[in-house]
Symmetry: C2
């Protein structure tokens, strides 16, 4: 309940948009939710932790896992998809934890974050921590290693997110919350179950050419060019590559959400391009960020 | 069967990547399909029409609709998801028609297209026509109007797709197949069921600020700036805005696929930002590109 979290109460989710104050109703189209038909404070007012990830089934698995971890699971309980009116995103909730899928890539997670941040605002949530739990390609790490992002960087290794607004380029900072990063690193040390590093995460708009892969339908460079690029990324402190962290950091930063990115690496890109580990190995890898963040939430709640 | 389509047979799907010839196995990770475990020529060799769209349930509805239209439906037949091992994309097939979901945004559809084009290549498909059937925001059109894309343009109204490859900007043409565009316009005239125009489609990386909306979690401009931008887009021939057409045109163009984009407009952006029409109205709108393209496929097959 809210009273447990009084020490966070001055810390409301804010919007960075003066126009919204004039709207009577707000339709969150891609969630199939609206302030005109749903009671957001009642449905979401107690949310303190939001976890987001690409795959809907993984985000459902996470809510089931975290429900058991937090002792909130009831035998036979189901966690229905709150966004049942659409197949764009899936959303699940147990206690103070919200789990939302975001699909793949910057545009897909950005749509979700616009509507999620408005949802948290309309619900008058405060003291919210948001963590992306995802998959990535590693650089120079053993597959299955977990990377906690220090800085989300662009394909030129700069900690910036560039966006086109009304036809003009706008650059935003991709700053992430440092104390949260350290708290998560400590949680992984507590667990001692898998290798974890803190490092930079490169965020790209493409999985194939955009990440220097040689195995897409199109490829216009040589193996040597690829190797040089990945080595330069490693020298710039990049330890993994994914497709959502920069806009996630930029938007959360602008709206007063403490944010972190925790991704497992499915392969070492210095060794190859294809994700060809056995299915059951990949499934276990994908549980690692969930276990780390589950432990973090449990620890936070028991300290409250 | 292939013999019906002999006149297209010189027209194989090609890749623009010399490295693939050296690979023994090709894992299409985001489809959960591999040349090592699936017989692509047997599964997909007869594909002549590929339809893609954002939502998995809409692409399933399309295959059911087109099966009936083409007289290929068997009472009680189901169309199982071919990508059942993953929830990244969904894929359905009936006769020569493949229907694939692509999620939202350029990165999401680009991952799908890389793997789809490789799939068609490995299956030795020829004479393939690919059409995106999607949703969009209209500019100066009655909601429910269908736009057949003449040119996919960027947020500066240029017919270009810019991509970052190994940290450097690369620009590709977004040329679409003109005879196909005209054939589709004729199909809509045949049907006479809904207003259809041929016009430019603006492709953006963001749904809110990137399309000049005032209702996102962030907005850094005034209503007047938005109005000027949308008017400038209209003056440049833009009739609708969506988030996938430019990379779709660029990649299909590079790989010898005749491609078209057919999107319904869910609202008129000169009148507002929110998609607030009743659910059943929006459902009917979304069937319009399906009906147009269903008619097109039927007409092509009966002429063969």
């Amino acid at each position: 309940t809210l009273s447990t979290f009084l020490f966070w109460d001055s810390d409301f989710v804010r919007l960075s948009n003066p126009h919204l104050a004039t709207m009577k109703e707000d339709v969150l189209y891609h969630f199939s939710l609206s302030t005109g038909t749903h009671d957001f404070p009642a449905m979401f007012g107690d949310v303190k932790f939001v976890c987001v990830g690409g795959s809907p089934s993984r985000m459902k698995a996470f809510i089931q896992y975290v429900a058991v971890e937090l002792g909130l699971d009831v035998p036979g309980a189901d966690y229905p998809n709150i966004c049942v009116g659409t197949d764009r995103y899936a959303m699940f909730k147990v206690g103070p934890v919200l789990s939302v899928s975001h699909g793949m890539g910057i545009p897909s997670i950005a749509i979700m974050l616009h509507e999620l941040i408005k949802l948290l605002y309309h619900a008058r949530c405060s003291g919210v921590t948001i963590i992306r739990i995802g998959t990535s390609g590693g650089i120079g790490l053993e597959p299955g290693s977990v990377v906690i992002t220090r800085q989300a960087v662009d394909p030129c290794f700069k900690p910036e997110f560039e966006q086109v607004v009304l036809g003009k380029r706008v650059v935003r900072s991709t700053h992430l919350d440092e104390p949260l990063m350290e708290e998560l690193a400590q949680c992984s040390a507590d667990l001692g179950e898998f290798p974890t590093v803190v490092g930079n995460t490169m965020c790209t708009l493409d999985f194939y050419e955009g990440q220097g892969r040689l195995d897409g339908a199109l490829c216009s460079y040589a193996e040597k060019d690829k190797r040089e690029y990945l080595n330069a990324a490693h020298a710039a402190g990049v330890r993994n590559i994914e497709m959502e962290s920069s806009v996630f950091a930029a938007m959360c930063n602008a709206c007063g959400l403490r944010a972190a990115v925790v991704c497992v690496t499915l392969l070492n890109r210095l060794e190859g391009d294809q994700i060809s580990s056995p299915h059951e190995v990949l499934v276990e890898y994908q549980q690692r960020p969930q276990r780390l963040v589950g432990h973090f939430i449990k620890k936070r709640l028991s300290a409250a």
